[in-house]
């Protein structure tokens, strides 16, 4: 089995799906000749032609808006938005058009598109290249929101997303693009959207996170004293969120800490904290804790290390929560 990084796994999934389904079209800024600024679509235009891998003008609303039309007309567009900071101009088409296409037509029209978007901080990028807006889209009925934390999951989830009959935002944590290499099966496989994964089992506390923060949490747990046993859950899908897996775990541990990069107020950690309270109230021995980005704009990179949750903050919160 080849060892691939996140970029390689996604590239492989795209290539295999395009080979299998002529309805798939990739469009976005610099996705063609250049293979994308992160090389995720590298080689695809050469292989599938400029018709199916389109270098678009600098037009995010245009990328998503035309993708909606392609989808309504039976194609399977897989647009790329170059950075999450540039989803803004496409917000209206995504939230008010794509997400409502099926419901406002009572199923007469559907919008099977998969929007690929690099997300998150930690790579010393300039402004608007390090944000984490997943909560905004998870609050948008009609959209599914996926964020893998590793190459194996990325391939399986992306194939599921592309085959999903409804619009999916597929967030790719930049920080992980090249940082994790692992064995990824050559053959195609899918992973279910809406299912979280228990990364490591534990009995004392449940640690819930997603995207690049999964590695941060894993590293933190390695530094933790043997005697404490933490169950780590990788959400993998933000919406629909897998509350069953979370509730099962917290009912057992009685304690939970949620970790994410986005600002705390209104972040998706709030939804998870509420769901845990609603589902595990009588089991809870401490308030669910949120270790998140601060309620400031994502700072320029000189301060991003201070902004992003790190092992120390995660460990401290786990200890506080256990000692509560």
């Amino acid at each position: 089995m080849p060892k691939l990084d996140l970029v390689g796994a996604i590239n492989l999934a795209l290539a295999q799906e395009m080979a299998a389904d002529p309805r798939i079209v990739i469009l976005g800024e610099d996705v063609g000749v250049n293979g994308g600024v992160f090389r995720v679509t590298d080689g695809l235009q050469k292989r599938f032609g400029a018709d199916r891998v389109f270098d678009s003008p600098l037009s995010e609303s245009g990328i998503i808006g035309t993708s909606i039309g392609l989808a309504m007309a039976g194609m399977r567009p897989v647009p790329e938005i170059q950075f999450e900071g540039f989803l803004g101009p496409a917000y209206d088409q995504l939230v008010n058009q794509a997400a409502r296409c099926r419901s406002r037509t009572r199923g007469a029209f559907t919008c099977p598109l998969t929007v690929r978007v690099p997300i998150g901080g930690g790579i010393h990028a300039p402004e608007l290249h390090s944000d984490s807006p997943e909560a905004v889209y998870a609050h948008t009925p009609g959209l599914k929101v996926v964020m893998p934390s590793r190459p194996y999951d990325a391939k399986g989830l992306l194939i599921s997303a592309i085959r999903d009959p409804d619009p999916v935002i597929f967030f790719e944590p930049k920080r992980v693009y090249r940082s994790i290499k692992e064995e990824v099966p050559e053959e195609e496989y899918t992973l279910p959207i809406g299912k979280a994964q228990v990364v490591s089992e534990g009995t004392d506390l449940t640690l819930i996170t997603w995207g690049a923060m999964v590695s941060v949490c894993l590293a933190a747990l390695d530094q933790m004293a043997e005697e404490t046993s933490v169950e780590l859950i990788d959400l993998r899908t933000i919406y629909p969120v897998d509350i069953e897996t979370i509730a099962k775990s917290v009912s057992k541990t009685g304690r939970a800490v949620v970790v994410h990069e986005a600002p705390k107020t209104g972040g998706f950690g709030a939804e998870i904290s509420s769901l845990i309270q609603e589902n595990c109230f009588l089991h809870l021995e401490a308030p669910v804790q949120r270790v998140t980005g601060f309620d400031t704009a994502m700072p320029y990179y000189k301060l991003e290390k201070q902004y992003l949750p790190d092992g120390d903050r995660v460990l401290r919160s786990i200890r506080d929560c256990l000692a509560y």
């Binding site: 079209v25 018709d51 199916r52 678009s56 003008p57 037009s59 609303s61 245009g62 998503i64 808006g65 035309t66 993708s67 909606i68 039309g69 392609l70 989808a71 309504m72 007309a73 039976g74 194609m75 567009p77 101009p89 209206d92 088409q93 008010n96 058009q97 099926r102 419901s103 406002r104 037509t105 009572r106 199923g107 007469a108 029209f109 559907t110 009925p141 009609g142 599914k144 999903d164 009959p165 409804d166 809406g194 919406y239 629909p240 969120v241 509350i243 069953e244 609603e278 589902n279």
Partner: protein, 379 residues
């Protein structure tokens, strides 16, 4: 070359049928046949009846907000007539009912939409059109995407996208025009300049003398036409469709017309629109000159007129009956249309019609309420 001219452009204005119903036969090529004009005029009468009836439905509290279409009959029907039914697509906003009806949309769908029922957007699969849309400008990008799909699949089909002059101020319109010209997509941008965007007159929408010149930015074929002229509307659209089908990409048409009614039933145009302007526009009502043309060819008279109106009233009466006869939508429809497959949380919400966790969880029963249907269902 210290200074040289590197690009020149001009905008032309086309009108074939004047206010008196006189046609410039030499220029009217392709030309609508007599029988076509006759049936299109009959269609205008039906649409105008529908328009007035819908207005009354709102006024009598039987329907929500409705935007009257009156004044738009010539451009919508003339343009739509240039399309091939079931092949070429119509992407509307909300002021081209005549075009949609001509291409087979059951008229009660439009009423359903404005009666606050999504089923009015459930376009029958055999029709090639998208539903009414209210987010100004957004549909221009969808139209380009649909046309792009046709091109990618090498299907010989074109897309006709309607929008108002106000829509040309949106970023989406600009991005759609740019994408279309880059893709050489088979799409026709039909801008119905009815001179008002709610209370904003077109001179506050653009400082340029025409909206047709918006297309010059993309080097796109463009023309301004008299949108109250059925023949010019047909010819300009047909020429554009032929260009698109020949692989020569998109075209832009500015159809100069007038919004003869209020913006919608929620609006009162007297607050901002000079009475004499409306009076002048009423004289240019596309139905007047179309009728004059038919009469000049002895294809129409007062008898035919009253017969047609009677027939139209009967049709519209039935349409209203159908629309009002449709059973109320269920909350299930609201949930079931969200995704191909409902996530668990949506299932729970659908079954319990509750969002609070206790209410959603049959094992956590609170005080019983008399006739608490939702709760009983889950117990």
């Amino acid at each position: 070359m210290p200074i040289e001219t590197i690009y020149t452009a001009q905008i032309q204005m086309l009108r074939l049928l004047d206010e008196e119903g006189r046609l410039d036969v030499a220029l009217a090529d392709p030309l609508l046949s007599d029988s076509d004009v006759k049936s299109l005029y009959e269609q205008m009468i039906v649409c105008r009846e529908f328009d007035e009836a819908a207005f009354k439905l709102q006024r009598s509290g039987r329907m929500g907000t409705f935007p009257q279409n009156k004044g738009h009959e010539a451009i919508t029907l003339g343009a739509a007539k240039a399309l091939r039914k079931g092949i070429d697509w119509i992407v509307p906003y909300y002021r081209e009912n005549p075009a949609m009806f001509l291409h087979g949309l059951p008229m009660h769908y439009v009423l359903l939409h404005w009666m606050g029922d999504e089923r009015g957007n459930a376009i029958p699969a055999n029709l090639s059109m998208s539903p009414l849309g209210l987010a100004i400008g957004t549909q221009t990008l969808h139209a380009v995407g649909i046309a792009w799909a046709f091109k990618l699949r090498k299907e010989d089909r074109a897309v006709l996208c309607f929008f108002g002059e106000g829509a040309t101020s949106t970023g989406d319109f600009h991005e759609a025009m740019n994408f279309a010209s880059l893709l050489k997509a088979p799409v026709i941008f039909c801008c119905m300049n009815n001179q008002w965007a709610i209370s904003t007159c077109c001179s506050k929408q653009s400082a340029a003398p025409t909206f047709a010149q918006r297309a010059l930015a993309y080097d796109m074929p463009t023309i301004r036409i008299d949108g109250n002229d059925l023949f010019a509307s047909y010819k300009a659209t047909k020429d554009a469709i032929d260009r698109a089908r020949a692989g020569n990409g998109p075209s832009f048409i500015e159809a100069l017309t007038y919004r003869l009614g209020d913006h919608t039933t929620a609006d009162d145009a007297r607050r901002y629109r000079p009475a004499d302007e409306l009076a002048a526009a009423l004289k240019l009502d596309p139905m007047i000159r179309t009728r004059k043309y038919l009469e000049s060819k002895n294809l129409w008279d007062e008898v035919k007129q009253s017969k047609a109106i009677e027939k139209a009233k009967a049709i519209v009466k039935d349409v209203i009956a159908v629309a009002e006869g449709i059973e109320k939508p269920t909350t299930d429809q609201m949930f079931d249309s969200m995704f191909a497959e409902l996530p668990d949380e949506l299932q729970r919400q659908k079954q319990t019609l509750q969002t609070d966790s206790i209410g959603q969880d049959p094992t956590q029963v609170g005080l019983q309420l008399p006739g608490d249907a939702a709760r009983e269902r889950v117990l």
